[in-house]
């Protein structure tokens, strides 16, 4: 456990060795702040049935920066180690390959959580200033942030896998973006296709982060997306371990 925490500590710290972390934090803060602002002003225009939480988590302005941050967070994780050769010192220290894979995953996930943490303050500030409820029930907060965490875990795992496949950060970033975009677009097919049949709709809805968020931000916590994201994360991490060992052993 101590070894794992040492690894995790270095992964988290390594974000802040380079200026990229600060740039990402800054722009994400701006983007999510602007998203919140537009969510509230949308509600100001006309009477509406949705809450502030729903409106903030379901706009294009929310999803657009959302899918863009994962390549930036995860591209370095393995690619840099393979390129610099530090993978050799890392993997010959008395640590298991699982510890390395999990430390890299949780390190990136931690940074992702750090990105989202300030957004909670928006809702607190909203309630303080307006004296109105941002959501009708605590479940809406809990659901939204739980789903953010789960989607994040899955996409971070995808990003780590992409990074483990290459020596170049930029390749990792492109692969991650394509993979996430693929999942995302598959989920959107339900809106794009003309009256798809019922089974097709159901399959598509498994991929649809947008639909999941629409449910969860209303406090409707469905077990299917939970199982989907958790099992996919574990599956992708498992593949990640295989790829990592394969590349190491091929060297």
């Amino acid at each position: 456990m101590r070894t794992f925490l040492t690894l995790l500590g270095r992964e988290v710290k390594s974000f802040f060795y380079s200026p990229i972390a600060y740039v990402v934090l800054f722009f994400f803060l701006v983007a999510s702040g602007f998203n919140f602002f537009s969510g509230v002003s949308f509600l100001n225009q006309s009477p509406s049935e949705v809450t502030v939480v729903e409106s903030a988590f379901n706009t294009v302005l929310f999803w657009f920066p959302f899918v863009l941050i994962f390549p930036l967070i995860t591209m370095r994780t393995y690619a840099d180690e393979f390129r610099m050769g530090t993978i050799e010192t890392l993997a010959t220290a008395p640590v298991s390959d699982w510890q390395i894979v999990l430390a890299k995953f949780f390190g990136a996930l931690f940074f992702y959580i750090l990105l989202w943490a300030p957004s909670f303050l928006y809702f607190v500030a909203f309630q303080e200033i307006t004296g109105k409820q941002a959501a009708l029930a605590a479940g809406a907060f809990g659901g939204s942030y739980l789903l953010l965490l789960l989607i994040g875990a899955f996409y971070v795992a995808l990003g780590c896998l992409a990074s483990a496949l290459t020596n170049e950060q930029i390749n990792a970033a492109v692969m991650t973006f394509v993979a996430i975009f693929g999942f995302f677009v598959t989920g959107l097919l339900g809106f794009i296709l003309n009256s798809p049949s019922q089974p097709v709709r159901e399959i598509i809805s498994y991929f649809s982060a947008v639909e999941h968020m629409a449910d969860f931000s209303r406090g409707l916590i469905d077990s299917r997306p939970l199982v989907w994201y958790i099992s996919m994360t574990v599956f992708v991490l498992f593949i990640n371990l295989q790829v990592f060992q394969y590349r190491k052993w091929k060297a």
């Binding site: 270095r10 610099m84 050769g85 050799e88 010192t89 640590v95 298991s96 190491k248 060297a251």
Partner: protein, 309 residues
């Protein structure tokens, strides 16, 4: 300390290491020699648990490198070729991280890091970013990392490559000092280095072990590579012929400058024609400018063992 039994590493299309076996006893300093691509790094990577062997076994301090990899790794400090380091960390930060990763107790980390900084002469640079260090300094950081958990065994893959002569000397001194209480396996192709540091040499070529012996014994066995240089002023025309006829001389080359001639005589094993040459020169009144018998060096042995096929 190291036991290697029939270790083989095969890649699709070629075999990097073929069925090698050797042992390194506790306290030995063993030089691992071979031309580029001979399989040195592959063998070292297998010993450190980075690469799995295709077949065969190896153990470090009694722990199988694959079955009990973590315990085996606990006993070894490894400096990979080209010394990979995190360039964005500071020296002391990096060493503390590595010490913790290698299981040095929390309360001892500070002391151990201080010790290796001292040993590797990095005190002044402890706060520097690794990326700003010179190649020689980085090499010392790599060594400090290999040493930080006080391992019984050091595996160093070409620790002096790419360094200038002064830095090579520094690193060599450092390794010599380390060798006192530790077992060291060091790969290099700088041969004088091996003669100075190593108690034993393992020569590997095309994935096979060609020789494993002390440097002295290797030299004795490979006397064949002896050479005599004779320099004559205004050499008579028949001198080449006369020299070639001497007993024990394999062949003679002549290099002419304006007035002088330089003869290079390759001799058979154990043969020493120098006194014959002197007698010949006296009889024929040659004007001798120089006569040197060059003893075979490890370099000759190395070339002998690793050339051809």
């Amino acid at each position: 300390m190291i036991q290697v039994v029939n270790l083989t590493k095969r890649y699709p299309g070629f075999t990097a290491v073929r069925d090698i076996s050797f042992q390194v006893a506790k306290g030995e300093v063993v030089g691992f020699l071979g031309p580029n691509g001979a399989g040195k790094s592959t063998t070292m990577r297998m010993l450190t648990g980075y690469l799995p062997p295709t077949s065969g076994h190896a153990s470090i301090a009694g722990f199988d490198i694959f079955e009990q990899s973590l315990q085996a790794r606990q006993h070894l400090g490894y400096l990979p070729e080209s010394t990979p380091l995190y360039h964005d960390m500071r020296v002391h930060e990096y060493l503390r991280y590595r010490a913790s990763l290698k299981g040095v107790e929390g309360s001892k980390i500070k002391e151990r890091v201080g010790d290796v900084l001292e040993m590797c002469d990095l005190r002044e640079k402890e706060r520097a970013l690794i990326g700003t260090l010179s190649k020689g300094q980085r090499q010392r950081v790599g060594l400090a990392d290999a040493l930080v958990h006080d391992p019984d065994l050091l595996i160093l893959d070409e620790p002096t490559i790419g360094l200038d002569p002064n830095q090579i000397r520094q690193v060599r001194e450092l390794i010599k000092n380390l060798a006192n209480r530790r077992t060291v396996l060091i790969s290099t192709h700088i041969l004088p280095e091996v003669e100075m540091m190593c108690s034993r040499v393992v020569v590997i070529h095309k994935g096979r072990i060609r020789a494993s012996d002390t440097p002295e014994n290797l030299l004795q066995k490979h006397r064949s590579a002896g050479e005599v240089r004779l320099e004559l002023h205004s050499a008579p025309a028949d001198s080449l012929e006369k020299l070639s006829a001497l007993a024990g001389v394999k062949d003679v080359q002549e290099k002419k400058t304006e007035a002088d001639s330089l003869f290079l005589l390759r001799t058979e094993a154990e043969a020493d024609p120098t006194s014959e040459i002197l007698r010949l020169a006296q009889d024929r009144h040659w004007d001798v400018r120089g006569l040197v018998r060059r003893k075979p060096t490890l370099e000759d042995v190395f070339v002998d063992l690793t050339q051809g096929d």
